[in-house]
């Protein structure tokens, strides 16, 4: 065991943790049973706030549990250890005609993390969230017991564990139903839009004909200009070598490079670039799904104090007004992000008790950590989300008030019955009291 500072993707803090590397899946029950103090499974540390942290406690590092167990090329059923990376799965199965049905905006995450946060992708309206495609989870509890759960086997444990923020046990092995694909290419279309009404018209109009939809929105522009991107799997089948990873941010700059003037310049440049390149194109899945993976450590550009991501979902009937109100607040503050993402979720229930996706529109905003002014801005945004009866995404959160979490997640009380007493996170202590 070793003690070292660990931070999440937002780099807001670097608390010390005791690190225990998991390598042998069959040894995990004994290891957890004999551990001291509350621990938490930790994969790639790509969640933004404190959901993956456990200040002063233990982190069980799962990236050593990265083995494939079996893959049936006829049925597309993949069994792997929970620390396997989404990237490695995609690179294994796509050349064989299969693909993970749902992936988020980075592939540098473990499947365990994808399940614990029940992540979603650009195709939520067609295929739901990650948990919708998980057939079985092997869950190891800190008393050493093992629970194999799935949609029809110990379904209550499954519902608690999907989106369960790692608090119900440690996942060691999972079974995922993959989806047929013709290859790694997508037919995509990029469409600039001038306001939220245009966005919603595009989003609604793309629901039936397009599998992937997402948009970037200029959060400094009150009118809501943005760029809408949609895509469908293409029939092109050649498999090019993975792109060389760029240099990224080799060091942490002394101050955030994201500030008022740089942001305005960047957003205008980006909008005009995209406008210029509007239209139909073929895109490889890696840059289309995971555009920022090619910029390693992009999170460092926010400087030594780190940054927050604020991702909300609001119900569809009030979505337009709520998003408009949030953009106005952000625009007035002059503090905003390169990476404002707006997309609609499909009209479907999520599989987990604490899953984030719900019917409506989700807006994700990044903010450099400027202390008090940033928290004041969040309080204003919170009021809009609460009023709209929306909720925030725990995987991104480092600061939401407990009352907001309780109001947003009605499954919380039921969820608490499935918690593992030997597991705790900074987020669970902050939002659930233990």
């Amino acid at each position: 065991m070793t003690t070292m500072p660990v931070s999440s993707w937002g780099r807001l803090a670097q608390p010390l943790h005791h690190i225990v590397a998991l390598r042998d899946a069959t040894a995990v029950p004994d290891l957890l049973r004999t551990g001291q103090g509350a621990g938490l499974a930790f994969g790639m540390g790509r969640s933004y706030g404190d959901v993956c942290l456990n200040d002063g406690g233990t982190l069980w590092k799962t990236t050593g549990l990265d083995r494939f167990v079996s893959f049936d090329e006829q049925s597309g059923l993949l069994v792997c250890e929970a620390g396997a990376l989404v990237r490695d799965i995609q690179r294994l199965v796509i050349p064989r005609g299969w693909i993970l049905p749902v992936t988020p905006g980075t592939q540098l995450i473990t499947v365990g993390g994808a399940i614990a946060n029940d992540v979603h992708g650009k195709n939520h309206h067609v295929l739901g969230s990650f948990g919708d495609h998980v057939k079985r989870i092997r869950l190891v509890r800190t008393d050493g017991s093992i629970i194999d759960c799935g949609p029809s086997e110990h379904a209550e444990w499954f519902a608690a564990t999907v989106g369960g923020l790692g608090l119900t046990g440690v996942m060691t092995e999972v079974q995922i139903q993959l989806r047929r694909t013709s290859g790694p290419w997508l037919d995509t279309e990029t469409i600039p839009y001038a306001g939220l009404d245009e966005f919603f018209t595009l989003a609604d109009g793309s629901e039936s004909g397009w599998e992937h939809t997402v948009s970037w929105i200029d959060c400094l522009d009150r009118s809501g200009r943005g760029v809408f991107m949609r895509g469908n799997p293409a029939t092109r089948t050649d498999i090019p070598a993975p792109a060389k990873v760029g240099a990224g941010m080799p060091v942490v700059p002394p101050v955030s490079l994201v500030n008022g003037p740089s942001l305005r310049a960047f957003n205008t440049l980006y909008f005009n670039l995209k406008k210029h390149r509007a239209g139909r194109q073929q895109a490889h899945y890696e840059p289309f799904f995971y555009p920022l993976d090619n910029v390693p450590n992009w999170n460092r550009m926010y400087g030594p104090k780190g940054f927050f991501q604020y991702q909300s979902v609001v119900p569809r009937d009030v979505a337009r007004d709520a998003v408009q109100a949030m953009l106005e607040v952000v625009s007035r503050s002059g503090s905003g992000s390169f990476l404002a993402v707006l997309k609609t979720f499909g009209d479907r229930e999520s599989p987990g008790l604490l899953s984030f996706p719900r019917p409506g529109a989700t807006l994700a905003l990044d903010f450099p950590n400027k202390g008090e002014p940033t928290h004041k801005l969040f309080a204003q945004l919170d009021a809009i989300v609460m009023e709209a009866k929306g909720r925030l995404y725990p995987a991104k959160d480092a600061r939401m008030p407990q009352a907001m979490f309780q109001a947003g997640y009605p499954g919380l009380e039921e969820f608490s019955k499935f918690r593992d007493a030997g597991i705790s996170s900074a987020l669970s202590r902050r939002l659930m009291g233990s």
């Binding site: 003690t3 070292m4 042998d24 083995r67 494939f68 167990v69 294994l92």
Partner: protein, 246 residues
């Protein structure tokens, strides 16, 4: 298919190397002490490479007779190996070795004697055939004795010198003998090491091994920077070296 055997196949560096080797179809034998752990690794490799043939075998790593008959049997089954990676080892507690000679002897046997006996055993059939590659994982720690880990260092130094001799013996033939010297790597063996040097990622060390073996380099430092660091450390005069806390 190319025949590859990995001794100490549950080591993290060995496992990562195997993942790279199975990118083409190979006949791979994984050798270790615990069958269940070997089988989990084999299952993973089979998913990655359905066209490869992968078998697991357990053996005694300490007994010279057992090593000799194990390698004989393995070679008798399908002919000499094209490539052998000998990767087993432990990182002993230096203080415990100083206090308990049994611990010291064990550390010397596991990290020094056992690997070279395997190398010698595999060399027999390769010598007859006139070709094959034997790659053994040594360590930068074998390049100079240091107070913090000279028992381990001495064992790895034995490996280094032994392989140097084998290289001399096979010069001009098709048999290659390769010494791999990883710097401190982020593996279970080093899990208790704190701070100080930045540990190398096992997949990067594996990539250096696989490309170095491919190129037939006699000595591979992984990552490369350790070649320079150790050249400096070896060149330090004793009066200066003895004052350093390394």
């Amino acid at each position: 298919m190319k025949r590859i055997a990995i001794i100490g196949a549950t080591s993290l560096i060995a496992e990562q190397s195997a993942r790279l080797w199975v990118r083409e179809a190979v006949a791979l034998t994984l050798v270790g002490r615990e069958l269940s752990r070997l089988e989990r690794i084999a299952a993973d490799l089979r998913v990655r490479s359905p066209q490869s043939s992968i078998v697991c075998k357990v053996t005694d790593f300490a007994d010279a007779r057992a090593i000799a008959s194990f390698v004989d049997d393995l070679d008798a089954e399908g002919g000499a190996q094209d490539l052998v990676l000998i990767a087993h080892g432990t990182l002993p507690d230096q203080k415990a070795c100083e206090q308990d000679l049994v611990v010291a002897r064990e550390a010397l046997a596991v990290n020094g004697l056992s690997p070279v006996l395997f190398a010698e055993a595999f060399a027999r059939r390769m010598a007859e055939k006139g070709q094959g590659t034997i790659a053994v994982i040594g360590s930068v720690a074998g390049d100079r004795g240091r107070r913090s880990n000279y028992v381990y260092g001495a064992a790895k130094s034995l490996v280094d010198r032994y392989l140097e001799g084998m290289r001399h013996r096979f010069a001009g033939t098709g048999v290659r003998v390769i010494t791999i010297k990883p710097g401190p790597t982020d593996t279970p063996m080093t899990a208790h090491l704190k701070g100080g040097v930045k540990l190398a990622a096992p997949e990067d060390v594996a990539a250096a091994i696989v490309s170095g073996v491919e190129a037939g380099k006699p000595v591979i430092y992984a990552p490369f920077k350790w070649r320079i660091i150790m050249a400096v450390i070896r060149a330090l005069p004793t009066v200066i070296f003895n004052r350093l806390n390394i």
